[in-house]
């Protein structure tokens, strides 16, 4: 699986031999590949007007392009804000709640993200084909898809350490602009242009996986909540800046501590483990039916309702597993 940003085809249908060669060498003889473009066909076409575009079939003959539009940017942020508002409103009556939830569209985005990641995973696992994923910049929905696909396919990404490695690779080093995306939050009145909860959407999708495969992830919801917090504000430098280059310039590694170092301490890491975990060597295919996708109460109602009974249940599970 490869990821990139959009080819700069432009309105004049520019070509780039090197790019064609590069993608050509990726494929074996006779092999075909898939390009998963996270923009709609129309949006991708329009991108040509501003210098971007898609890979023309004529120049990339052995690559089949699939469009799976995923929401990003401002609309995604709006969706998030609306959802948080809806969750905080205690006066919504039951006969309006679901339509209110629907109008936020957040769950639709979760469904779309999981579906696309599964598609990528299917290409690799079932079709044994190579996959290239890109959107526009290659820093948002692209990473969402590649990271999720790896969780689905690869058991080593589902361990506590493996997951950290996945985050380092597919989000941090890959250049997701955390500083811009997680600048304020859903409560902020300032609507920043570059703010968008892609990383949260990713964590939500991971939570959906953990619900559908309760034994297959070594880490617990608590880790996901901690990561969510850390992306916005943290005592550690792991999620600072927008790219490796910026982190170098700011000397992040010299001046701050790593979140992973903290999490992995023997005393700390216990809190982030899933007591039900057993190594599952197989691919985990989630159901993306609406019934299978639920609102992440642990996040969206975190401060609104007591999690006492659920915490007690987890403590009981822990106790049962440990005493065995």
């Amino acid at each position: 699986m490869l990821r990139s940003s959009q080819p700069l085809t432009g309105p004049n249908r520019r070509r780039c031999r090197e790019d064609e060669l590069l993608l050509g060498t990726v494929l074996d003889e006779e092999e075909r590949g898939f390009i998963i473009d996270t923009r709609s066909a129309q949006a991708a076409k329009q991108a040509r007007m501003s210098g971007g575009g898609t890979e023309p079939k004529a120049f990339y003959p052995r690559w089949r392009r699939l469009h799976r539009p995923l929401e990003r940017g401002r609309p995604l942020q709006e969706s998030f804000i609306r959802l948080v508002e809806a969750c905080n409103e205690s006066s919504i009556s039951m006969d309006r709640w679901l339509s209110r939830l629907e109008s936020c569209r957040w769950l639709s985005h979760v469904k779309a993200a999981l579906s696309t990641a599964c598609l990528a995973a299917q290409c690799l696992d079932r079709e044994k084909a190579k996959v290239l994923v890109h959107g526009a910049e290659g820093t948002d929905t692209t990473l969402l898809v590649t990271a999720l696909a790896q969780l689905i396919l690869e058991p080593s990404c589902r361990t506590l350490l493996g997951f950290q490695g996945l985050l380092e690779r597919e989000w941090i080093e890959a250049g997701h602009p955390f500083h811009l995306r997680c600048a304020h939050s859903a409560y902020s009145h300032a609507r920043l242009k570059q703010e968008a909860p892609l990383f949260l959407l990713f964590l939500d999708c991971v939570w959906q996986l953990s619900r559908q495969f309760p034994f297959s992830l070594e880490f617990s919801e608590h880790l996901l909540l901690t990561l969510f917090d850390s992306a916005y504000a943290s005592a550690y430098g792991t999620f600072l800046c927008n790219s490796e280059k910026e982190r170098c310039l700011c000397k992040v590694k010299e001046n701050t501590h790593s979140l992973w170092a903290w999490l992995n301490q023997p005393g700390e890491r216990k809190k982030y483990l899933n007591p039900l975990y057993t190594h599952n060597p197989l691919v985990i295919w989630p159901s993306v039916e609406p019934q299978s996708i639920q609102l992440w109460q642990g996040l969206f109602f975190r401060w609104i309702r007591s999690s006492q009974y659920l915490d007690e249940a987890w403590a009981e599970i822990q106790h049962l597993v440990e005493s065995s």
Binding site: L107, Q212, T278
Partner: protein
């Protein structure tokens, strides 16, 4: 009928070829597949509707919808055969006499004494004793001993000490169906009680001295409070409309010391339609998130569930926190009243959250108090307007509570699902007819078997591993969050999509934890025994060796080894751009899952040979392999098979 296809309802590509059999009690489809001969059994009692669809090139489709939400689609090659099957099923699914029902032919090979013992498992007089009755305030009355006062009530009713036979009889004449106020639950800690009745025949201005005395008697039976609540579970408009028909509700002016309260829960017709709409949403092919949420809201189903729950919470609060007795009624006092009283009881009393207690609760508030099982769930062919998912809603309320309070119930989701299944299956005699009187006339206990005994025998499958009797969650009253709480009500896909295995987590946490718990107990017992032996024997090394090998066995039996195929699952169809591609995952056997998703993009569509593929549809093999006993741990019916178990068995 041979050469019938059983379609995977959601993926039209997948189908199984086999033979269809119709017996006196079941529809059976046996697959031709040479190895497994997988069977699907459906009890006629479970059939809700049969739809004959337009004949296509492949044959004549027949859609069977069941009361336990299973949906079967068959394609019968010959139109003539299809018609015959259709007509037969119509007749078989609408029995005219009770004797046609399965419970009268079901034979679990128990002797007469075992059958009797089974019926004695749940004893209501024991239950009222447990509550502390009879006592200074409450007594048992035999005024209805021949069903002379109220034919839908039991022979033994519990009434306030100061309610004489004269008062009871007088009150019964002023109540719809003569269902006078009687005790449902008594809280011995503070003497508050929950009583139930039907609506008074008050019209606009009628009064009845005895009825007023009856309510006073209820109040007097609780010295801790100087008033009682009267809760009418109907919407105010409906109750007012009833007044025009000479019925209605209690006027606070006429009844001294009552506080009257409406808690609007809709009637059986609204609920029937609500369920219908929700099932239509479930039958949508590849719904979007929008379709689903809009459809669910439009059905109003969760709103109704919440309304029932809210009523139960109100009553539980009145009893536990205010120490005030409550009289509950609706119109006839056998639907909403039953729901609300039993929800309140479960919130109040941890006993009803045990397995035995739950059976007792259903026996008390539903069976003995004359809930019309036959009419509501269609044991026999009857008026379709009487059909309504009343007890289903109650069962769902309990599931919603279980989700909010995972440690509070001794039983698990499967217990609830199996009870719902058997209310409709008529495999056991507990839920026949409309009243105790009718059941006794039919001699149900002499001629059929009790579901409770069957469930009790298999109780290991129904336990909640997180339940501990001394846990804080299990003691005292449950306090569900009142607001905000809309989000706490979830769609119960375990019930309404029960047979769509692709939708559910492949690995059952409940079963795993139960297995762990049992193994731990066994090991602890073994260790104790071995410890004793160690004290007696001299060769300690031998014993250590034995203990070690047991531990190895355990991890295998728990299915924790990595070579375990039951962890595998298959991808569903993830792209739903095109309407013709259903996006649910296969629910039965999956030898051709492959490139389905990609054919729309003009790829080669030939399916790679998957026989070598280790991913297999796992079915309930997962569950059985978790049992320490190693064998199929599903509660198997001894002779007849229930449809869901048969579907799973041969995988």
């Amino acid at each position: 009928v041979e050469n019938v296809r059983l379609l995977d309802r959601l993926s039209s590509r997948k189908s199984a070829l086999g033979t269809l059999y119709l017996t006196a009690t079941h529809v059976i489809f046996v697959e031709n597949d040479s190895e497994a001969h997988k069977e699907t059994w459906i009890l006629h009692s479970q059939i809700s509707s049969i739809e004959k669809q337009a004949t296509t090139a492949t044959g004549c489709p027949l859609l069977i919808r069941c009361k336990n939400f299973q949906v079967i689609q068959l394609v019968i090659p010959q139109e003539r055969d299809c018609h015959d099957v259709y007509i037969s099923l119509i007749r078989l699914a609408r029995p005219v006499k009770y004797e046609e029902l399965y419970c009268f032919s079901f034979n679990p090979k128990l002797d007469k004494e075992e059958r009797e013992q089974g019926w004695k498992l749940v004893d209501l007089s024991e239950e009222y004793n447990r509550m502390g009755i009879p006592n200074n305030y409450w007594q048992i009355s035999d005024v209805n001993r021949d069903y002379g006062v109220c034919d839908s009530y039991p022979t033994e009713v519990y009434v306030p000490k100061s309610a004489t036979a004269h008062i009871i009889v007088g009150s019964s004449k002023f109540r719809s169906r003569r269902r006078f106020p009687a005790l449902s639950y008594y809280c011995k800690d503070n003497n508050a009680s929950i009583c139930r009745s039907s609506q008074p025949l008050s019209g606009f201005s009628a009064r009845c001295l005895e009825d007023e005395q009856m309510l006073q008697a209820i109040r007097k039976a609780n010295p801790g409070s100087d008033f009682i609540y009267v809760v009418d579970t109907r919407p105010k408009l409906n109750a007012m409309a009833n007044r025009a028909a000479g019925k209605g509700y209690e006027n606070e002016d006429n009844y001294s010391n009552i506080k009257f309260q409406f808690i609007g829960i809709e009637n059986i017709h609204v609920m029937r339609n609500s369920l219908q709409k929700m099932l239509e949403v479930c039958e949508l092919k590849s719904p979007s998130m929008s379709d689903f949420l809009w459809g669910l809201e439009n059905s109003g189903w969760l709103k109704h569930i919440k309304a029932i729950m809210d009523a139960g919470i109100f009553i539980a609060k009145a009893v536990a926190e205010e120490g005030v007795s409550v009289l509950v009624h609706c119109s006839d006092g056998w639907d909403r009243t039953a729901q609300v009283c039993s929800v309140a009881s479960i919130l109040l009393d941890p006993y009803y959250r045990t397995m035995k207690g739950f059976m007792v609760l259903i026996e008390k508030d539903w069976v003995s108090f004359g809930h019309k099982f036959n009419h509501r769930y269609g044991n026999l062919d009857g008026d379709p307007k009487e059909i309504s998912p009343v007890i289903d809603q109650f069962i769902e309320c309990i599931w919603q509570l279980m989700e909010q309070f995972p440690c509070a119930f001794e039983f698990n989701e499967r217990f609830l699902i199996h009870i719902q299944h058997h209310i409709y299956s008529c495999q056991f005699g507990n839920f026949l007819c409309n009243s105790q009187k009718e059941r006794r006339e039919l001699k149900v206990q002499e001629r059929t078997y009790s579901l409770w005994a069957h469930l009790w025998k298999n109780r290991a499958d129904y336990l909640n591993p997180l339940y501990r009797a001394d846990h804080s969650q299990t003691r005292g009253t449950l306090h569900p969050q009142m607001a905000p709480c809309n989000f706490l009500y979830k769609f119960w896909s375990g019930m309404y999509n029960r047979f769509e295995k692709g939708l559910h987590p492949r690995q059952s946490v409940t079963d795993y934890l139960m297995a762990v718990k049992e193994e731990t107990q066994q090991l602890e017992e073994e260790l104790e025994v071995l410890g004793e032996r160690l004290a007696n024997l001299q060769k300690s090394q031998l014993n250590d060796g034995k203990v070690k090998s047991k531990q190895q066995d355990r991890s295998k039996r728990l299915g924790l080894s990595t070579s375990n195929n039951s962890l595998a699952n298959t991808p569903q169809e993830y792209s739903n751009d095109l309407k013709s591609f259903p996006s649910r995952s296969p629910s039965q056997g999956d030898e051709e899952d492959s490139a389905l998703i990609l054919t729309q993009d003009n790829l080669k569509s030939s399916d790679p040979d998957l026989s070598a593929n280790s991913d297999q549809e796992s079915g309930v093999e997962d569950l059985s392999c978790r049992s320490p006993s190693g064998g199929g741990c599903l509660p198997s019916e001894d002779s007849g098979k229930d449809s869901d178990e048969a579907v799973f068995l041969a995988v």
